[in-house]
């Protein structure tokens, strides 16, 4: 991950941003808002993770999106516009196809947002925020959230060690490979159980959750964070007000009825766009400023 200006802000700013963006992404089904959120999430993930994010988005998210959009009309037959009939006799409707596409976009968008969240909200930030209020829960959450990447990494380590003694899943006949794979899995499970206990013990021995403890990482809530938090609050208020006013309303069944694009709703869309793209904007502004400084030297 490259240095990200937004990730260097105070954790509370990061957390408020991701909480609001994820909530709005899950709540609003209006196509304009979905598109805004999807594009912003994709842009931010590419900015954070570079080529890896591009590969992830194209290799996994795109097929997922297509499959989800196609599966919905196969099972959901509501809607007034009948396009054709399935062999079973159930109709395929335009509404169910559009709804399938919209929900697929929403699903993929939320996943991509979470990939950004994982890159920005590291576990030390999370514990810094919530370690005092709910120590046990925040420790569990921060452990669970990095479950998959951590285990994948450990499997790589075990697999490399096994390969050096000729017992990897890529070595030997079919039966041999299966046995090796099971062996690796067994080592992995043992390690995971032991590691969980060790983590708990080491946290306890360091006095985690007791009064007067400070966090591993310390953050200062400075002027920039205050300004960002204020901007965030204003944007969230505008978007939430727009949602309450019904600008985000989208009905897909029995017929598609979307809240029309008006001047007022355009304000909400714009605010939503700025909110979602805030980290990208900050990064761009910082880069421009840096280039400007460099050019003056």
């Amino acid at each position: 991950m490259k240095r990200d200006a937004f990730a260097s802000c105070h954790p509370i700013v990061n957390f408020v941003y991701f909480a609001s963006v994820l909530a709005f992404a899950m709540l609003y089904m209006h196509p304009v808002l979905l598109a805004v959120s999807f594009i912003s999430a994709a842009a931010y993930s590419v900015m954070l993770n570079g080529r890896r994010a591009v590969r992830f988005n194209l290799l996994y998210m795109l097929p997922l999106l297509i499959v989800m959009a196609l599966v919905n009309p196969a099972f959901n037959h509501a809607g007034v516009t009948i396009l054709f009939y399935l062999k079973s006799g159930n109709p395929v409707t335009q509404e169910s196809i559009v709804y399938g596409a919209a929900s697929a976009f929403m699903y993929v968008t939320v996943i991509v947002w979470f990939s950004c969240y994982n890159a920005v909200m590291t576990s030390d930030k999370f514990i810094y925020l919530f370690g005092r209020i709910m120590p046990a829960l925040s420790l569990i959450l921060s452990m669970v959230l990095r479950f998959v990447p951590r285990y994948r990494h450990q499997i790589g380590v075990i697999s490399a060690a096994q390969r050096s003694v000729g017992r990897d899943v890529s070595q030997g006949g079919l039966l041999r490979r299966a046995r090796n794979g099971l062996k690796i899995l067994s080592i992995m499970t043992t390690w995971a159980l032991e590691n969980a206990i060790e983590t708990a013990d080491s946290m306890k021995s360091r006095g985690y959750g007791l009064k007067g403890r400070t966090s591993f990482s310390l953050y200062r809530f400075d002027l920039r964070d205050r300004a960002l938090l204020a901007i965030l609050a204003v944007l969230i208020a505008i978007v939430a007000a727009g949602g309450a006013a019904g600008f985000s309303a989208a009905r897909y069944f029995p017929s598609i009825r979307l809240s029309p694009v008006t001047a007022f709703s355009a304000v909400m869309y714009a605010a939503y766009g700025v909110l979602c793209l805030l980290p990208v904007i900050i990064q761009a502004v910082e880069e421009i400023r840096w280039k400007f400084i460099v050019s003056r030297m």
Partner: protein, 365 residues
Amino acid sequence: MKQTASVKKWLAAAAIVCVLAIAFFWGGNDYGSKSPSSGTTASTSASDEAPPDEGANEPSQSSGAKQTDSGGEAGGETGKQEAQPNPPVDLEPDGAAEPGYTASADSESNGNQPDSAAPGTSSSGAGAGGSDRSGNKGEAAGGGGSSQASGGKDGSPSPPAAVKPDKSGGQAAGQGTAASEAGGKKETASKPKPTGKQDEYLTDPVPAGKPKPVEWQDVTVDKKKAYTATLSVTCKSILDHMNQFNEDKLEVLPKDGVIYPEQSVAFYEGESVFDVLLREMKKNRIHMEFEMTPIYNSNYIEGINNIYEFDCGELSGWMYEVNGWFPNYGSSRYKLKDGDVIEWVYTCDLGRDIGGDQASAGDGK
């Protein structure tokens, strides 16, 4: 430190209670709003839920009801013991108290009062205090059954015969009997046979004189023999329950509630009610969605013209009627005869609002 921990615990408990309270008042709201809307439903549900209410209408019975009530309170522990097998007993009238049904069917519509009053006392005499509700019901359905108290007692040890596998069966069975008990409706004189022996697709025995279900797998459609039947699809019941109707669906609701006006349609030898409906809906480009339900070996109609099940309250959905009878099995298993009159009707109240309560008591699909 300990102080704060206990305070936190109490706070957490209070928060949980708050959430439960909100859920209680917010969710499950449909039952309350329904009763004032329709006369018959209100009366049946009232009599179902509160026997004392019924007693107030009929003075002679009130003493019996009160007696049982006080018996329940005085009974104490025995009352509690009795209360536990209550659900099976609730279902009971449908199955076990049947023998006298056809005999008393006529007297029931108006002669309900003396019938139920007399056994009411007998049940309190037997000391079945806790189960006053079920006691009343059992008697009403049983009519002239002589040994009523023993009948009620016999019922509790043998729930399997009475318990319906259908998810709504329990409730429907109880209320269905309550409806006929109140005497509000009297559409079919005969009810399914009491034996409780179901076929492999969980269908109760079909009443005498009505066509038996025919599995669609066994039927071959003979296109050479064409007959005609009459088909109609209506949802007039929604017009009486507009307060429960899904607002989004207003645009697909016909003003007069007629989706497919009554007309004669052609069908071929061996076709079922479902086949005819599907063909006609397709032909007229009327939307319809269905789903195969293997456990009942029949297609279940989820929605017609985008009016779906549960769109008008949680007891709503599509039912069908052939020659004035609501079959107690699915439409794919009803083999048509020449001249049959098929009506697809939308119910907002498990069939009670359209006169098909018995079918829904078993398997309404």
